[in-house]
């Protein structure tokens, strides 16, 4: 890892980290980028494993979508994160793509990113000046831009330990059933108490603003409620209000605003069910 960050930091030209390459190679092939240096991180041991720790999961930066899906404990604890990552591309893409690449590509429509934000995931960044850990929401800053500095590499993603009665879910709207870019994505993670009252919630939306966004007002609408109709209405309204979308061929701004509320509501219902709520 040290050697890799050193290579990136020393390169005077354009240097890129290569994980699964499913974004980088497309940009390379279509002439968007002309790298002077590409550093493949897939053979660095620290990036290759999923570790179960007392305080949660540590997912190496080069772990692929297919590998996440095969990890029974992770899938049980964070079904929403895994289902979001598994929506990326085809079987071929799943064999290569990583959540870290999805995050660093900084697309507003990145599928795994809303789920990671809702999960309160953090990333461990290694750079020339050492290690630092920041929340996922501080990584993307604009379409295609991250807060990472020259020479920095994300080494792993940390997912917190799940309290009992917790669940998460991610839903996206696309015109087809497979292989498309989200028009809207919504992720919800909740924790309930023994009586089914929501004690903690996080909500994030994709493809409705220049970056994936966390929506604290939507989370507030759920906390302290039994996630009944009134709470879900308030959640949907808060999500729609948080949207700053664009009009494009995939959907109008008005459509995205409406769908964000609808999807967040449905994702919240699935998350509640997964948390054991009725």
């Amino acid at each position: 890892m040290k050697e890799a960050t050193g290579l990136l930091a020393r390169e005077k030209g354009r240097a890129f980290v290569l994980a699964g390459g499913t974004d980088l190679l497309v940009r390379l092939r279509t002439g968007f980028i002309e790298p002077d240096l590409i550093v493949d991180i897939k053979r660095i041991t620290a990036t290759r494993s999923i570790d179960v720790r007392s305080n949660g999961f540590r997912i190496g930066a080069a772990v692929t979508g297919a590998e996440l899906n095969e990890h029974a404990k992770l899938t049980k604890a964070w079904p929403g994160v895994v289902e979001a990552a598994n929506l990326i591309g085809s079987k071929q893409v799943q064999g290569r793509c990583t959540m870290t690449g999805n995050l660093c590509n900084a697309s507003p429509a990145a599928d795994s990113v809303p789920a990671l934000m809702a999960a309160a995931a953090k990333v461990v960044i290694v750079g020339p000046k050492g290690k630092r850990t920041i929340p996922v929401e501080q990584v993307p800053v604009a379409p295609g831009k991250t807060s990472l500095k020259k020479g920095e590499i994300i080494e792993s993603i940390l997912l917190p330990k799940r309290p009992p009665r917790s669940g998460d879910a991610y839903l996206r709207f696309i015109p087809r059933t497979e292989m498309d870019i989200a028009v809207v994505g919504a992720a919800v993670s909740v924790t309930l108490d023994a009586k089914g009252m929501c004690t903690d919630a996080r909500v994030a939306l994709g493809a409705v603003a220049p970056t994936v966004v966390l929506v604290p007002e939507a989370a507030k609408a759920l906390i302290g409620t039994k996630m009944d109709k009134a709470a879900l209405d308030a959640l949907a309204a808060a999500c729609s209000a948080a949207c700053r979308p664009i009009d494009d061929k995939r959907g109008t701004s008005e459509f995205r605003i409406k769908v964000a509320g609808v999807l967040a509501r449905r994702a919240a219902q699935i998350a509640r069910k997964r948390a054991g709520g009725k």
């Binding site: 190679l25 493949d40 297919a66 085809s90 071929q92 064999g95």
Partner: protein, 158 residues
């Protein structure tokens, strides 16, 4: 960028080559090694015509650098038949006329083989989702799906 020396295994045979740092595995297979079974349909990961396996995982070779193959095991369509004996999937594709122009066929066969290795008894829906990364402009997919289902059944009996 500079040339890189790579030692890898392709369909079980050790292979050495030198490639440019930004050259894709698909270009290496086709242009340097004469393995032209994998096709270039889009070069952006959408069509699956370039499908190969790397250490047993299905991938698009157009989205892999040739340099990344070092020390890995690559599986291509050329390794599917055993000598003159076709793989059951290949036979069933012929029987069901599951191809027309044939450009998509090598990629679909590689993807279907990988699918059946992970799931020997797929439903029709699972086959359709499993092959969603492989585009075919000719057949309308029905014959492909039927050929895969039929091959799966035969392989289960064998």
């Amino acid at each position: 960028m500079s040339a890189i020396h790579v030692t890898t295994k392709i369909n079980g045979d050790v292979v050495d080559y030198v490639c440019e740092a930004d050259e894709t595995l698909l270009d290496v297979l086709r242009n340097r090694l004469g393995l032209t079974g994998a096709k270039e349909g889009c070069s952006t990961g959408d069509c699956g015509a370039c499908s190969v396996t790397i250490d047993g995982r299905l991938t698009c070779s157009c989205l892999v650098l040739g340099a990344e193959a070092d020390g890995r095991e690559i599986g291509t369509i050329e390794g599917m038949a055993k000598g003159d004996e076709l793989h059951p999937l290949q036979r069933k594709f012929l029987e069901h006329a599951a191809l027309q122009c044939g450009i998509c066929t090598p990629g679909i066969l590689v993807a279907a083989k990988s699918l059946l290795e992970h799931n020997p008894k797929p439903t029709e829906t699972e086959v359709r989702f499993g092959l969603a990364g492989n585009l075919c402009r000719c057949t309308g997919y029905d014959k492909i799906v039927r050929a895969v289902m039929d091959a799966a059944q035969e392989m289960r009996r064998a």
